[in-house]
Amino acid sequence: MGVLDKEFLQENFVVSNLDAVLKWARVASVWQTTFGLACCAIEMMATSASHYDFDRFGLIPRPSPRQSDLLIISGTVTLKMASRIKRIYEQMPDPKYVISMGSCSNCGGPYWEHGYHVLKGVDRVIPVDVYVPGCPPRPEALLEGLLKLKEKIANESLIKSA
């Protein structure tokens, strides 16, 4: 927006339109559910740790799905877990987003043929916004996925067009 880095000497007003302010707020504070499944979760944790620092993009792990905007499916989705994931997703308030991280949750990954216990893609139970490929994806890839999601959020509007 180009004004917040200016120094305000006294109480002041900033004039903007509501849509832009809402977008700015939503894009800059994507809160994710603290939720990890398999080895991808280790990469996700590395991404939120100090070296890659998810937090600089406004991504804070929340301990409850009811307080979060984003669910990162980080790992193998077993059939046993799939119904739990669906329940977590349903507990999140709208608007909500899902990043599918890694080959397993994208399409079953190495378990695609003989994985009797694996759901072949988390998009069979919940809608997915961004797919991040990799096995597991490096933190840079997950960050790229997050930036893609931010693009998507920035292109949405919460204001009804007349």
Partner: protein, 176 residues
């Protein structure tokens, strides 16, 4: 510390019916075969006898021997009838430093094997896993329920050689 031959001699003298205890070689390992109904007696003896003192069950494995009669279906899958399922027990004495592998086979049609969960408490989850994936029923187990697959899984035991994956589970498509 005792060698395999000494351990086998002790077991043979204690449980002296020939057909109940025998030995054979699998790969590089010597294995003692034990008739399934005797496994609990042998286990208790191995653990409590001071000169044996097998205080640790390293692991317990279930195996589908795939030695039954095979009938191939039209779609390329097959069914097995007859033959055996096997259970392997890897034992170690942490004080006397000797190891032993026991094996017992149960018929596929009635795969009931006495539980050793009350002899070595560590075998509790191992036996649940063997039950879950191979379908061996451990008689006398305190809580023989599925451990890895969902509790409401009703499509059989996935590591059986003739296992067929279902098309749907709880409304979710299973095949790729």
């Amino acid at each position: 510390m005792k060698t395999f031959e000494e351990l086998f001699e002790i077991l043979k003298n204690k449980f002296n019916e020939e057909e109940d205890i025998s030995t054979h070689k699998e790969g590089n390992e010597d294995v003692i075969l034990i008739a399934a109904p005797k496994i609990n007696l042998v286990a208790t003896f191995l653990k409590n006898e001071p000169e044996l003192n097998f205080d640790s069950l390293i692991l317990l494995t279930g195996v589908d021997d795939e030695n039954g009669e095979k009938t191939t279906n039209e779609d390329g899958s097959f069914d097995l009838s007859g033959g055996t399922l096997s259970v392997y027990y890897h034992l170690e004495s942490t004080s006397l430093k000797h190891k032993l592998i026991l094996k017992t086979s149960v018929p596929r049609e009635n795969p009931v094997c006495p539980s050793v969960a009350l002899v070595w408490r560590g075998s509790d989850w191992h036996e649940r896993e063997a039950y879950d994936l191979i379908g061996i029923i451990f008689d006398g187990h305190p809580n023989l329920s599925r451990i890895l697959m969902p509790y409401d899984w009703e499509f059989g035991h996935p590591l059986r050689k003739d296992y067929k994956n279902p098309e749907f589970y709880n409304g979710m498509k299973v095949p790729y």
